[in-house]
């Protein structure tokens, strides 16, 4: 039987409309604005100033804490300014504005197509490269990759899980790289697995992507035949269910283990990295290419087939530029999402620019996305059935609306992963996640305050 996670989950239509669109390279615009907040954690500190000349791949901002990451220039040219600019939610964040001149890369970058399969032996050097190249998790959370690859003392990785689930409807960028860059992804996996001490690596892919499963399995088989260090890597077909790509859910599906509340995956011996992250690791370690590009999907039901795309973009490109290049924003689009329709962010500002973790421009129509009028809870329990964390959103909703903090904590609101299954499933259109998300923040603050006092 095909594996999947054991609690909850939903089955929205997967709508992978753009799955057959090959990855195209977006031309570089005349100007980019690179945000210093490209990752989870503290924003990076700019180290360039107006007038500086930069090359592609040159560091322009340094990490400002343990959980932070380097940011590199995605273009060559002159730094025009360093200052506040609005991100996609409309909040001010420091951006580095660069006028593009030519396309000159840093010297050490290897831009050839040659596949480098020999894995360097020095794990410390590998980790340093991953860190210096600004690699962050590209599955959504953009958590700095090198931090996850250094388990704290006393903890050991039993399994590296590569997340190829791409369980969000519409998104096809991971699918495309699994087809077009399969071997590079496998090399990345072999590198990470070596760094983690040689644990097995499992590439989890959902059943609705049979071509990706085939391509990845073929890549694994070929590398195992032709090179060293690729033993113990396998592909696992997973049943299609959202949110399979959630870290905790994927660990449950692949390893049959569950991460304790407020715990980390490494506590149960798991390290999860997205397939796109694996590709970034390959480029960083084998090709000396910092993370300045990624693949995003331009899609939506209201977009004609010829305007569906999977683009390789560089960080700092204005979203409006990409939308324009792709053929314009469709008339019927009411909401534009960056990310998937379940967990992505609605874009408030199309002048915002791409970041490392950008994964899509998804156009949704009003009929698709406007919520119905809220009515009374009929206690159908569909939210509890859908919750992959086994929570009872109907109950949390009630407690949250009455500010009952102790009850919220007892009923594990802090475990919520904000996947949206509850709100998606509610037949009465109760804004469950909206309310739970706010209350969860409050409860986590209370828990942190309590542990800090001790």
């Amino acid at each position: 039987m095909m594996k999947t996670f054991s609690i909850g989950g939903i089955h929205p239509s997967d709508s992978k409309i753009s799955k057959d669109c090959k990855i195209e390279v977006l031309p570089v615009p005349s100007k980019v604005y690179i945000s210093v907040a490209q990752h989870l954690g503290a924003p990076a500190t700019p180290i360039v100033k107006a007038g500086d000349q930069v090359k592609v791949g040159q560091v322009i901002a340094e990490p400002s804490g343990f959980i932070s990451a380097y940011v590199h220039s995605s273009v060559s040219g002159t730094v025009k300014s360093v200052g506040p600019r609005k991100d996609l939610a409309g909040n001010n964040m420091t951006h580095i504005e660069i006028d593009v001149e030519g396309d000159e890369w840093i010297e050490e970058a290897d831009l050839s197509d040659t596949l480098v399969t020999a894995i360097p032996e020095d794990n410390k050097a590998i980790l340093e490269k991953i860190k210096m190249c600004g690699v962050v998790g590209l599955g959504g959370a953009t958590f700095p990759a090198h931090v996850k690859l250094c388990p704290p003392p006393g903890k050991k990785a039993d399994c590296l899980i590569l997340n190829g689930a791409e369980c969000e409807p519409y998104l096809t960028s991971d699918y495309r790289i699994m087809l077009e860059r399969s071997k590079e992804i496998v090399v990345g996996a072999a590198i990470m697995k070596q760094v983690l001490g040689g644990c097995p690596a499992v590439i989890g892919i959902e059943e609705n992507k049979p071509e990706a499963i085939k391509a990845m399995a073929a890549a694994v088989a070929e590398l195992q035949r032709s090179a060293k260090g690729y033993e113990g890597i396998s592909v696992m077909t997973l049943k299609k269910k959202y949110p399979q790509g959630g870290e905790k859910q994927l660990i449950d599906a692949v390893m049959g283990r569950q991460v304790k509340s407020m715990g980390l995956p490494i506590d149960v011996g798991a390290v999860v990295q997205n397939v796109a992250t694996s590709l970034a690791v390959y480029e960083a370690v084998q090709k000396n290419i910092p993370l300045v590009t990624n693949v995003m999907t331009i899609t939506g039901d209201c977009l004609p087939m010829e305007k569906q795309h999977n683009y390789k973009f560089r960080i700092g490109m204005p979203l409006s530029y990409i939308a324009e290049y792709a053929g314009g924003i469709p008339e019927k689009a009411a909401k534009i999402i960056s990310g998937g329709p379940m967990m992505g962010k609605a874009i408030a500002n199309m002048d915002a620019t791409t970041v490392k973790g950008s994964s899509s421009l998804l156009y949704l129509t009003a009929e698709q996305t406007v919520r119905g009028v809220e009515s009374a809870c009929i206690r159908c329990g569909k939210c509890a059935e859908a919750c992959p964390m086994g929570l009872e959103p109907f109950l949390l909703n009630k407690y949250a609306r009455n500010n009952m903090m102790d009850e919220l904590e007892e009923n594990a609101i802090q475990d919520c992963i904000e996947c949206g299954c509850c709100l998606y499933s509610c037949p009465a259109n109760i804004p469950l996640l909206d309310i739970i998300r706010i209350a969860k923040g409050d409860v986590i603050r209370i828990i942190r305050g309590r542990t800090a006092k001790k």
């Binding site: 715990g263 008339e331 909401k335 996305t369 206690r379 594990a412």
Partner: protein, 321 residues
Amino acid sequence: MDKLLVSPSPHLHTKTSTKSLMRDVVIALLPAVLVSVLFYGWSELLVLGVSVASCVLLEFLITKYLLKKSCTVGDMSAVVTGILLALNLPATTPWWVVFIGAVVAIGVAKMTFGGLGQNLFNPAIVGRVFLLISFPTYMTDWTRPQGFIGGGLDALSGATPLGLVKEGGVAAIESLDYMDMLFYNIGGSAGELSAIALIIGFIYLLARKVIKPYITLSIIATVAVFSGIFWLINPAEYTDPVFNILTGGLLLGSIFMATDYVTSPMSNVGGIIFGVGIGIITMLIRYFGAYPEGMSFAILIMNSVVPLLNKWFHSKKYGRA
């Protein structure tokens, strides 16, 4: 497009709504409704019509003029209550008695608690039990009215099978054929007529994922085990499991009434305990109580335990084994 819509995730929503769920329940009830109309004819149509119309009208009037809230009849839950109330009454019930039942079901059991989602007890059952206690003669008049088909089964008319047992012991039902009961029962309220029709509805509800099977199956299993033990010990005194499952509205109650979202437990474990409780209480009333059947009382009693079951039993949480 001038303005972008911005709201928190998720950005998609299921097509299932309160209304579509209620519509599915109505569809699931259609086979039973059809059978009852075919066999009980115009009088059953009148009971159904009066019941549904008064339930909907009462909810409309109460929300609009008494509570001054936005009208909720669009969610179709009043239609479900109306059909269920009708199926719980003899086809010969006078229209004004049906209307009183609707007043109690919607006015007292549902709207006084705050409307859909707030009521503690199943409205249709409260309506039925009120009528059973207030108008026992109408409520136990099981004369078979002339149906559109099959009007000739009058050998046992005037009593339900369970009523016969209460008066004459197990010997009184020796002539009953279980195949008859499976397809069109002999004597009883409209919704007890055909087990097959109810089971078709059950399968539809399961297939459409409107309900989960736990409550229904635990009631049936409990009744089967409970009556099976007694029947094996003394078949001359106690009725057998098949008879108990096919009679007294047990299927109607366990499929359509005990599974009511609002008045049943949220968790699966809670649902199973709820079902076991209903099964045991039903059989205690049937074997040892004053009433020939006990489903309605059993459901109401267990309805009152639901808040406790919800407090005690929660769904299994991730990583907190």
